[in-house]
Symmetry: C2
Subunit: 290 residues, 2 copies
């Protein structure tokens, strides 16, 4: 058991409330504030203190967590009271872009505020439970100092001093997830043409795709090595998806996700690199601003 | 230990050789044939019998496995000797489309041949080892009768009587895999802009994407239920990826995979269905022939 700390949570949307509730459960002194009142009732019952203003909330605690609507809301809320943050630790869990997180990092440094930016890899109902992870970047000593507090929300991972890293990883991981979901939909649409349920296909897909994540480390090594001709790879020519696209067409089903991959493959084959490894589609992805 | 059977393997490409080797290791009587000779030497050392023609190979065995270049090669090889297959069991492991598998199923039925069509979810080096799976469809009694033989190659799954099912599942699962790989590349390209290695991102992605496959069952239930308004879903409006696309643009990195998902989302939002659940992108996928 670690010593309780004073924490203020600014922003009581669904996520802010979940963050506050998890800290109350751990015995910390939690002060909460929301621009529009009425969101704190349940938290107050559980021991939270409601502050009448963001400034009062900041004064109450050594650790200030903001979880607001967007980057602009963060500045609107904090700019008028930046002096009161001086010497405290700010953890920004508002969803922002990497560039916005970097901008806030510079703003915090100018104000003498130690700051962390976080990317929450969970939905509110997962906070404090298994599978919840929050990525952090920015001031490492603040991360280490308050790690036991942060760990109440889920697994805490520190990625580096660049304040944009957490947001960048967040976007990168979510991108992979959404694209994977589209891949499942592509498969489900194909098997549906033979009357196979999406549920039955989901079970098989989950096992298959999980197993296939084992290939990612190999792609990573090839990409980092920078040589797409190393032995043991499946070539782009061999990865030609045109027969699969024809099968989708024959089945009368759309193939936007699959055609997307084929376009990445074709871009490399089109410049004569078809004998190189599949990992080369990394170059197709990064060099075309889509 | 089950009784050894007589098995002939037609086609000694890398996969055919792996299939034959696995059966030799299990004590079966294995006859092999390849259009161009010289591929069987290692197998003969391990106890295989090389047949001088496809017809002789068929005569030698109760179970005939074909693993040839493509669907046309199967007909070129088997059509002239279809009578000799009568009463035997044919397992076609040649990569074909669902429609081609169905055509071969009708051809086999007309010739009095019990037939299975298989989709190999493994590379040759995996055959007979952990992680290898082969999907089958077609004649169920043949599958059950020879299951112990088939199981030497990996996990054997029977999907149904429609001979096209194994190929369809194969294409569907591979589609999901290739699209997932493109999603990883998208993420790796994003984090690379902050100097993060593709290898480091692969490790985090593998864990994250594996965990997120847990969401597929829920999507399957919504799709099968046919009501994309059921409670507890993330809406398409909430899934708007435009901020992620802006972040990619700001980072100067391409976003073809992510933009593909956004196009599926936008198609539904564009017709006023943005309040419905994310699973609705299934309709975007299947209703546009890409």
């Amino acid at each position: 058991m670690n010593a309780p700390v004073t924490v203020s949570i600014l922003g009581l949307g669904e996520m802010g409330r979940a963050l506050a509730a998890a800290l109350l459960g751990a015995g910390h002194t939690v002060t909460v504030w929301n621009r529009t009142p009425g969101r704190a009732e349940r938290l107050i019952e559980d021991g939270a203190i409601e502050a009448p203003s963001a400034g009062v909330a900041i004064d109450a605690s050594e650790l200030v967590v903001v979880c607001l609507f967007d980057h602009d809301s963060v500045h609107e809320t904090l700019d008028p009271i930046v002096d009161r943050l001086h010497g405290r630790v700010l953890v920004n869990l508002t969803t922002t872009s990497p560039e916005q997180a970097r901008e806030l990092g510079l703003w915090a440094r100018a104000g003498g505020i130690a700051a962390l930016d976080g990317g929450i890899m969970a939905v509110p109902s997962m906070i404090g439970g298994p599978g919840s992870e929050i990525l952090y970047s920015g001031d490492q000593s603040s991360f280490e100092r308050y790690r036991n507090v942060l760990d109440r929300w889920g697994t805490s991972s520190y990625l580096g001093a660049d304040p944009g890293l957490a947001s960048l990883y967040d976007i990168a991981l979510l991108s992979g997830m959404y694209v994977m979901f589209a891949g499942y939909m592509q498969g489900a649409a194909l098997v549906a043409t033979a009357g196979v349920s999406a549920t039955a296909f989901a079970e098989r897909s989950a096992a298959w795709l999980s197993a296939m994540t084992g290939e990612l480390a190999g792609y990573g090594r090839v990409i980092d090595g920078g040589d797409y001709t190393v032995a043991g790879q499946q070539s782009l020519d061999f990865s030609d998806l045109s027969k699969m696209l024809e099968a989708a067409d024959e089945a009368g089903v759309g193939a936007v996700p699959l055609a997307m991959v084929q376009s990445l493959i074709e871009r490399q084959r089109g410049v004569g690199l078809g004998a190189e490894g599949f990992a080369r589609i990394f170059e197709s992805v990064r060099h075309t601003v889509g």
